[in-house]
């Protein structure tokens, strides 16, 4: 995504915007500042991002959404805290909080990051003359942040790999699967529509795969789980396999991300030691009522024991508490894939499975929950 010129970021469409609902609201009602022809005076106490915080400028009219949104992962980034706290100890939390503020917090999203302009994490700037949009534009909003893995996979930007069939054939946008309930957060009455033995009470999620699985493939493809599509593999494997095990292709894994502040500029930066394409099936580390699969695809995530050593020594003493070959949901779904060509394209094919020999010895202990110790046996040919 090409960066916008400074003037482009703040240019208002004077023909159209005043005719819209939001055009009936005085600029200063949301943005503060004062009426003055002098820029410096006009920008006194300016609120550049009025949808930050809770309550915010959106709350007056959209209070039902903004209240729930304050608990969403888009707003809280709670998933980062969940894994950082699991791998560290309380005495390390202040140093990690500083690291988080410097390097991670800019991924926090506010209402305006999706509904009026590009996310702050990619430089910001109005989408289209301050016109508000109900549906965020996919490449200027969603994949602006979720680009290096999800975006590249979905749009087919990884060399030699096709884009997701839902995009190639269906031209589906992110929100065609990811509902506003998911993006804005789970309303407290979610279980009224989605009852489940483990979800009588729906709490804000701890991480992206916490709680209810949403979206699910079965929501649009119910026959796959009902045995009505005459596909033997669906009948035989049922809920034992995550759909992506058969229907995704290679996806990105990363190694060794380290963060620091620049000596020259004082600005935060990161270094990732390696990014490569993998397709590996592991055991499901998040097995639950909502994710009952025995096997899932796993992606190497770039956290390392020394990732944050710029901020202190041994900040992740409990690194091995969590696996860093992680449950993954690649966004490059295909109807036909090499591993699903036949039973023995997968059965007996050790190359497809995350076995101990494929794991960095220093990470073996952390990944014991996902390492496959016994490759599913070859199916005898008739």
């Amino acid at each position: 995504m090409a960066p916008l010129e400074p003037w482009e970021k703040v240019l208002v469409d004077v023909e159209t915007f005043p005719q819209t609902v939001h055009g009936y609201i005085a600029c200063t009602d949301c943005h503060g500042g004062v009426q003055s022809p002098e820029k410096e005076v006009a920008h006194t106490d300016l609120v550049a991002r009025p949808s930050e915080g809770n309550p915010n400028a959106c709350t007056n009219c959209h209070g039902d959404v903004s209240e729930v949104f304050a608990t969403s992962l888009h707003s809280t980034l709670r998933g980062y805290h969940t894994v950082l706290e699991a791998r560290s100890t309380p005495e390390n939390h202040p140093a990690l909080e500083t690291m988080f503020t410097n390097h991670c917090y800019r991924c926090h999203t506010s209402c305006g990051d999706c509904h009026v302009g590009q996310p702050a994490s990619v430089g910001g700037g109005l989408f289209d003359g301050h016109l508000f949009v109900r549906t965020p534009p996919m490449t200027r909003s969603c994949t602006a942040c979720h680009g290096s893995r999800v975006g590249n996979e979905y749009l087919g930007k990884n060399e030699g790999l096709p884009g997701d069939v839902h995009f190639r054939e269906g031209r589906m946008n992110c929100i065609d699967c990811h509902s506003n309930h998911e993006l804005h957060g789970q309303p407290s009455n979610c279980s009224q529509c989605h009852p489940g033995v483990e979800t009588a009470e729906v709490l804000p999620p701890d991480h992206r795969y916490d709680g209810l699985q949403s979206p699910t493939c079965e929501a649009c493809h119910p026959n796959t789980t009902l045995g009505k599509d005459n596909i033997e593999m669906h009948t035989v494997h049922g809920a034992n396999l995550q759909c992506q095990v058969c229907h995704s292709v290679s996806y990105s894994s990363c190694d060794g991300c380290h963060v620091a502040l620049s000596e020259a500029s004082g600005l935060p930066y990161f270094e990732t030691q390696g990014t490569y394409q993998t397709f590996l099936i592991g055991r499901n580390p998040l097995r639950s009522f909502d994710r009952p699969y025995e096997y899932v695809v796993v992606r190497h995530i770039p956290v390392a024991p020394t990732s944050f050593e710029f901020y202190g020594e041994n900040l992740l003493p409990n690194f091995n508490t969590l696996n860093n070959w992680a449950y993954a949901t690649p966004h490059n779904i295909q109807r036909n894939t090499p591993q699903a060509e036949s039973c023995n394209a997968c059965h007996g094919n050790a190359a497809l499975f995350l076995t101990a020999d494929k794991v960095n010895p220093a990470e073996l202990e952390a990944n014991l929950p996902v390492i496959v110790t016994e490759i599913p046996a070859t199916i005898p040919e008739d």
């Binding site: 240019l11 600029c27 820029k39 990363c254 930066y269 990732t272």
Partner: protein, 93 residues
């Protein structure tokens, strides 16, 4: 008894004749609004009560914010110079 019946008929006839000469009833718009609320089907909201007060768009008034933010050249001229700092990040984020 017969006198009383005649008297009643005369009063009724007079009332009918005089009511035809009555002036047009003046209906208070507010009363009409309330009347329409009363006749709304149960569960429907009152459209009169919910209708926003028509006002001109706020931005149609003289607006220094818009004078500048709708003027590309002025935004270019007044933009704070940005010092290009090359990111030291490397690899996929």
């Amino acid at each position: 008894m017969r006198k009383l019946r005649w008297l009643s008929l005369i009063i009724l006839a007079l009332w009918l004749v005089l009511s035809g000469c009555q002036g047009e009833a003046v209906i208070n718009p507010a009363d009409e609004a309330y009347a329409s609320v009363d006749t709304l089907p149960q569960g429907e909201s009152n459209p009169i009560a919910l209708a926003p007060t028509p006002t001109a768009p706020a931005l149609a008034e003289p607006n220094e914010c818009l004078n500048c933010h709708a003027d590309q050249q002025r935004l270019v001229d007044t933009a704070r110079p940005e010092e290009a700092v090359e990111s030291e990040s490397s690899g996929v984020g």
